[in-house]
Symmetry: C2
Subunit: 380 residues, 2 copies
């Protein structure tokens, strides 16, 4: 047995050395690839050409899939691999391009610019060459001076102070300045901006947390208030930073956010609260976890790793939201009978009804989540 | 402008050609790598060495991370890339190794072997060189013959028929045969196997759906009933197919599954049911979706893409489960007051209490889910 082991080692070591040598070559090719990509970026910058070129990416993937088959490689594997490479290349390119300002002579005032979200935007503007001023509670005495000649006042303060801050800052603004806010509700702030400021008004809601380093493919909802043309450069700048812009009205935005934010977070909170209440054996449970359950429980755990005040703000934002959440709780009561009478058929009927309503989204969700489960297995 | 564009095209085309040439080289290196890996697998097969070698993988990743920095590449990017490559290599290796049987002379009877899960296991056994017999409702007349000389009887029938099938098959089994079931509850089936069969007994619960092609890193819970030593070869075979084996008692298993399966699926069902009840604008909602919400809604949609009868089985499996789900519904009622009185502070207090209970899992969940969100952004 010992001899056999020695024999095995003698045979496997040269194979492993060969694999290591191949990996070293791949690595140096990736470094060369990165250098070429940087040259492309430099060229694009000179000619003001957008970084992201979806058609070229898809061409490249299609070609590589074909070539894979000729080389006896799995095309899905090759596609997965190049999605990682192309994303890295896109991030690199976007980082380089961030320097470019759409209207770099514009003066920006970020109100609440020391908060997390305010800082994120202040940094993005600064990197893109804008002159950025920060207004906080501490230098409010200088508000009038700081507002002088500004082209954009961006309100980034906690939701309960937004309206009040809008009222206080508006009298100092030049009438041509664009007034915008980053609050996660839009009806009240936009209405107040319109009534207190006579110039261009734009409601903005970034659908992401303030810990990002790059806006690549992140969604930002904008709800136009007044003079969309005058707001165009700002929206364009958000796009250039990599964000996807979704246009909506304040009413529609708030209605959809009731579901997307309040209901979802509240349902997650309730689930976590019940696990805690039941003293579920969390760590042993995880050992019993298929990747999909791990992922779902991860979504619950993720919530509780974050700031409770932020979630209180989101959940309790409006009376309408609180009514919706109460309706959700009461709607669950409809299922008690079904459980008590052990009525499986009723469950199947209800299930089918909902499935029909979800329609093609279900299959798409199945595909997307299966993809993610594979990623989870790969990594952890 | 036209001239400028021509100029840009002239300059960018050679760069793109160079990138394409690099990609072709990477592809051919990956094909060579795969060939070397296949040689390693062949060697391992001869020497009966396990395929997956976590330490070697981690060494390789650490070394590549270091080398990346020397080449000006992002180490995280390199790690992501090699996780994809190593996973592919592992899948390839496992596929090759599946041929190996731990006890290839053993005769296997799969009861319910035409069902989805039964077929999956019948195929795995067949691929590994075992003699596999299938017993279904249609050939039940031959049950006695099919049971002759068998070494393993694997019961894979719907949950409500498991106990009955165990009772019917046991009298035909050789007393040395291992009797095992694949049901998603374990207390009743294992108790009944122990009382009707005198030989080795093992409860088995695969924590995955029957649509998998490979068990790589999937979890299988085993609850020993009698004569663990005699069950060893079967558990070892499951490991060799790539599964992770978690040992438990039938009691503990069922208690944990109440949470992992019943509660989770029921909560998801309730959420989907409420969205349908409210007629939420699903497609517009998705346009407003950050990757994390898309992922969460995807988890809900995913449920409704599947078989309602399967979920009815899971949710209504036992009286205890139905009681737990009722308790869950009622526990939500505790939050109505908080919503009605707009008591944000109470929410923050409850939130903190749960967060403390989740402990370090929250941060881990944050890391894992952030990783997945990146993957989602990459791909969709």
């Amino acid at each position: 047995m010992k001899k056999d082991n020695k024999n095995f080692q003698d045979q496997i070591l040269p194979l492993r050395d060969e694999i290591d040598a191949i990996d070293a070559k791949i690595l140096s090719l990736l470094a060369r690839r990165q250098a070429q990509v940087e040259k492309v970026v430099a060229l694009k910058k000179i000619h003001s050409i957008p970084v992201y070129h979806p058609a070229r990416e898809e061409d490249l993937i299609s070609r590589l899939r074909l070539q894979s088959q000729n080389h006896g490689l799995d095309p899905d594997f090759m596609e997965n691999l190049y999605r990682v490479i192309l994303r890295q290349s896109r991030v690199k390119q976007t980082q380089k391009m961030e320097v470019k300002g759409v209207r770099p002579d514009a003066k920006i005032l970020v109100i609440g610019g020391e908060g997390q979200m305010g800082s994120l935007f202040a940094n993005l503007f600064t990197k893109s060459g804008y002159a950025v001023r920060i207004l906080t509670e501490h230098n409010w005495d200088h508000a009038r001076d700081l507002c002088q000649d500004i082209d954009l006042a961006l309100v980034s303060v906690p939701i309960e102070r937004t309206v009040q801050v809008i009222e206080k800052i508006s009298p100092f603004l030049p009438s041509t300045a664009l007034l915008a806010d980053l609050t996660s509700v839009k009806k009240k702030p936009v209405a107040r901006m319109l009534s207190t400021h006579k110039g261009p008004v734009l409601g903005v809601h970034p659908l992401f947390g303030p810990t990002l380093s790059c806006l690549d493919k992140q969604i930002i909802v904008v709800t136009p208030g007044r003079d969309e043309t005058a707001c165009g450069w700002f929206t364009e700048q958000l796009s250039l930073w990599g964000a996807v812009i979704v246009k909506s009205s304040p009413d529609e935005h708030d209605e959809i956010m009731e579901i997307v934010q309040a209901l979802r977070h509240f349902a997650t909170f309730c689930f976590g609260d019940f696990l805690c209440h039941r003293q579920a054996k969390l760590s042993r449970t995880l050992e019993f976890s298929s990747p999909i359950y791990r992922l779902e429980l991860g979504m619950v755990g993720r919530l509780f790793a974050q700031d409770p005040a932020l979630y209180a703000q989101i959940i309790f934002a409006t009376k309408g939201r609180r009514a919706l959440l109460k309706e959700f709780i009461l709607s669950l009561g409809r299922h008690v009978d079904m459980l008590e009478t052990n009525d499986k058929q009723l469950f199947v009927d209800k299930f089918r009804h909902v499935a029909k309503w979800f329609g093609p989204f279900s299959d798409q969700a199945m595909r997307e989540s299966t993809f993610l489960i594979d990623k989870l297995i790969e990594r952890f």
